[in-house]
């Protein structure tokens, strides 16, 4: 059975996350920096009255930072009791992906992607990487203390 996925872009590459894990999408204006938080945490944002941390996908994927544009989006994901945002370059598309479209990532990719990529989907001429949201967000505690 095919399921709905939210597709977003980071540095030209396309990624997908199951829509069921996405609480909502927000445009990005700014995040309040939190001193001592892991470097991939862009800061705090208020989403529907809740204060949630925002993870910068570029920083997380080891990509150079860019200036945020009007296209920048925060994909707000729900992971158990945690609500965390993922800051991406753009997110405009929703697509259905069937299990048979999903292939395990080639070993080299898997290794390089630190386990962030769960599967790769061939959609026509495009390659979409299915991310492991919980890995991307990370369990790491803030350092310091």
């Amino acid at each position: 059975m095919s399921t709905l996925h939210v597709v977003f872009k980071v540095a030209g590459a396309e990624y997908a996350i199951p829509a069921s894990e996405v609480m909502q999408m927000e445009s990005f204006t700014s995040a309040t920096p939190v001193p001592g938080a892991p470097t991939h945490v862009a800061g705090l944002m208020q989403v529907r009255g809740r204060v949630v941390p925002v993870v910068d996908a570029r920083a997380r994927f080891g990509l150079p930072p860019v200036d945020r544009t009007l296209d920048s989006r925060v994909v707000v994901g729900q992971l158990g009791s945690r609500t965390v945002g993922l800051l991406v370059d753009s997110a405009r598309e929703v697509m259905k992906l069937a299990p048979e479209q999903l292939q395990p990532p080639p070993p080299m990719v898997a290794e390089q992607a630190q386990g962030f990529v769960k599967a790769v989907a061939q959609v026509g001429p495009r390659l979409v990487m299915l991310i492991d949201f919980s890995r991307v967000i990370g369990e790491e505690k803030a350092h310091g203390g």
Binding site: T32, P35, A37, L44, M45, P53, A142, G144
Partner: protein, 684 residues
């Protein structure tokens, strides 16, 4: 469980928990009395009453295991009452286990787990407690006098029936009232809870039995309330909203209801004998679920946020030259009203410290048994109150300190005798409000004191020179003051937990005072409430932040010309500033916030806070004002960092960090930590 019963569950849990904690205290009192071979008829009856109510309530939610345990405990108490209010010492332990078994099942019920059967062995032991007694008075002939349909009769225990008979004997009427719950009734505010409450004012409720089966209104549940009362049927019916509720006598017609039949009861029943005990509770106390209070607080929080938006809008108008005098006046009045409202709501959430600590005697009792040490608990907490949210977090820290005191600090009776101390050690808990916003709680013992040298040796560090340093050492994760972990204190569950709760979670303070051979006192200073905070809002490196007013000792002007810079430090490092004849380290806050200020030297204003008892000044750019903020703690591990107490919304939709300056300085001070240690000696 049917839907109707599930609705009743929260109220059931609250009430039974309260009764259980009362029962625990009463049983402890009985144990003391038993040891001193004195009688305490009143406590026996109170405990009987508590168990009886637990039994009745549990029958209502149909938890048979609790009913059985409570029943046999009740029976044992009945005999204790007949013995003039003496509970044999040997009975205390099984009774304790009984309470424990009930508690366990109540917890299972609360978590939605399957309620385990009553342990056979325990029931047998409880049952055996009555062996010394005299059997069941009045049991013969019971069925001859109470007229009950079989389905109902089987739900009544012997003691319920005895209670009914005793009531009849004392001249009251025994009635069965049937109440049929329905959506319509619920809409009128009538549920089994309100019915219980209302009827409770008019009659003694012996038991409430849920009965399945078709009802007149098309439902399938009826509550049969068995009552003893002097009230008229019509009055009772009116109290429950009239038909389809019904009232009928349950006394066999052949016996005139008013005939005293006391001769059928060899012994008058304890709880019914004393008017004061039987009288239905008519207190002015209202039980409210905490979630509802939180809801009210949440709304108040929204109000505070919109008020600050309003204030900003008015300020913009004023700045634009608009005449806003009246508007500002209204705004001020509004601020005062908000403060009052906040105070009222917060007051609703206050619980008495004494009530929070009511489990400690039980903890001490357990420790006395497990350690073989003699120890007495002294509570001196007066009428102090604490926000429920704070109390709930604080309790584990207190429990931990008390455990440590008995486990590690107190010596064995032999050691104490050898040291010329009374054999019985004392653990003392005291508290007093230090200001309108803080409560200080102390846990003291008269034990051996903390062995600083031993603790240092274990951690492989030099012996701490001050109690502050010693406390820091003790609070290192995993440091245990004993080589072998004891059963109760465990290994690795050290003082770090106490510190984390008191300092990190609650934003409070922890201090230590210990004297070898004489004892140790831990002091915990905690805010009375943690939800809404009076805060200073300021700017530092182009961002706004807030800091709790209660954490700030003083705000000072920084005169760059009079700063003393230790030569070894680079620009932007720690400087010294003079404050009332004392040199205070001055830290540019942006450095701790990992931000660039773009200016030379520290900012022109500074907050003076106490960090490990020593004043430290944090320089900022601009003070923006003082206001009440709603503190939201940050739950996600990604952003739980020391020094950040939480976030707040100042009205711009962006989270503003609420800083905890003392811990920020301590956690991120780095090299600066060393700079102000010498200060301690220099303080006049």
């Amino acid at each position: 469980m049917s839907v109707d019963l599930a609705d009743f569950l929260p109220a059931y849990l609250t009430e039974v928990e309260e009764l259980l904690s009362a029962a625990n205290a009463q049983l402890l009192a009985l144990e003391t009395a038993a040891r001193q071979r004195s009688a305490s008829p009143r406590t026996v009856r109170e405990l009987f009453r508590a168990l009886h109510t637990i039994k009745g309530l549990s029958a209502m939610v149909d938890v048979e295991p609790i009913v059985s345990i409570a029943h046999w405990m009740e029976t044992a108490l009945r005999h204790a009452d007949q013995a003039g209010g003496r509970l044999p010492e040997a009975s205390v332990e099984p009774m304790m286990e009984g309470l424990r078994a009930i508690e366990q099942r109540v917890r299972q019920l609360a978590t939605g787990a399957h309620v385990s059967e009553a342990p056979r062995e325990l029931l047998e032991r409880l049952e055996a407690l009555e062996g010394t007694g005299r059997g069941h008075p009045g049991q013969q002939g019971t069925s001859a006098m109470l007229q009950l349909e079989p389905a109902l009769a089987t739900k009544l225990s012997a003691s319920d029936q005895e209670q009914l008979l005793a009531g009849i004997a004392s001249g009251r009427r025994a009635l069965r009232m049937d109440y049929v719950p329905s959506a319509e009734r619920a809409a009128q505010g009538l549920t089994i809870n309100t019915v219980r409450e209302r009827v409770g004012h008019l009659a003694e409720i012996v038991k409430v039995v849920p009965m399945a089966g078709a009802t007149p209104g098309g439902g399938n549940l009826t509550f049969a309330l068995l009552l003893l009362t002097g009230a008229e049927d019509s009055v009772l019916l009116e109290a429950v909203g009239g038909p389809p509720a019904t009232v009928q006598s349950i006394v066999e017609p052949s016996l005139p209801e008013t005939t005293p039949i006391s001769d059928l009861l060899a012994e008058p029943l304890a709880p019914n004998e004393e008017g004061a005990v039987v009288e239905p509770r008519r207190s002015n106390v209202l039980r409210v679920e905490v979630t509802r209070l939180d809801d009210a607080l949440e709304r108040l929080a929204a109000l505070v946020v919109s008020r600050s938006k309003l204030a900003r809008a008015v300020k913009e108008l004023t700045d634009a030259g608009v005449q806003t005098r009246e508007l500002v006046q209204v705004l001020h009045e509004n601020a005062r009203q908000l403060r009052d409202l906040r105070a009222s709501i917060l007051h609703l959430r206050m619980v008495r410290v004494r009530d929070v600590l009511d489990r400690l005697p039980l903890l001490i009792r357990g420790l006395r048994r497990s350690t073989g040490k003699l120890v007495r608990l002294e509570l001196d907490v007066g009428e102090a109150e604490l926000d429920k949210a704070v109390a709930d977090r604080l309790l584990p820290a207190i429990v931990h300190l008390v455990r440590n005191a008995v486990d590690h600090a107190l010596e064995s009776p032999q050691e104490r005798r050898a040291a010329g101390k009374p054999e019985e050690g004392v653990v003392r808990l005291a508290c007093h409000a230090r200001s309108s916003a803080r409560l200080e709680l102390t846990v003291s013992d008269d034990g051996r004191g903390v062995d600083a040298a031993a603790a240092a040796a274990r951690a492989g560090v030099p012996v701490p020179a001050s109690s502050t340093e010693l406390l820091e050492l003790l609070c290192r994760p995993g440091l245990s003051t004993r080589v072998s972990a004891s059963a109760t204190s465990g290994r690795g569950m050290g003082m770090d937990i106490v510190k984390r709760i008191t300092v990190d979670q609650l934003g409070g303070e922890l201090s230590l005072d210990t004297k070898p051979g004489q004892g140790t006192t831990f002091s915990l200073g905690v805010p009375l409430t943690i939800t809404i905070v009076d805060a200073f809002v300021f700017e530092c490196a182009a961002l706004r932040y807030a800091v709790a007013v209660s954490a700030v000792e003083e705000i000072i002007e920084v005169d760059a010309a009079s700063l003393v810079r230790p030569p070894s430090l680079a620009n932007g490092g720690v400087a010294l500033v003079e404050r009332r004849g004392q040199a205070v380290p001055l830290v540019p806050l942006e450095r701790l916030l990992q931000r660039e200020s773009g200016r030379e030297g520290p900012g022109p204003k500074a907050f003076v806070v106490r960090q490990r008892g020593t004043p430290v000044a944090f320089a900022v750019d601009k003070l923006l004002g003082q206001q009440e903020i709603v503190l939201r703690t940050l739950e996600d591990p990604l952003v739980q960092v020391p020094g950040v107490a939480g976030a707040t919304d100042l009205g711009d939709g962006q989270p503003t960090l609420v800083l905890d300056l003392p811990s920020l300085g301590a956690a991120r001070g780095g090299a600066s930590r060393m700079e102000y240690v010498p200060q301690k000696g220099g303080v006049a």
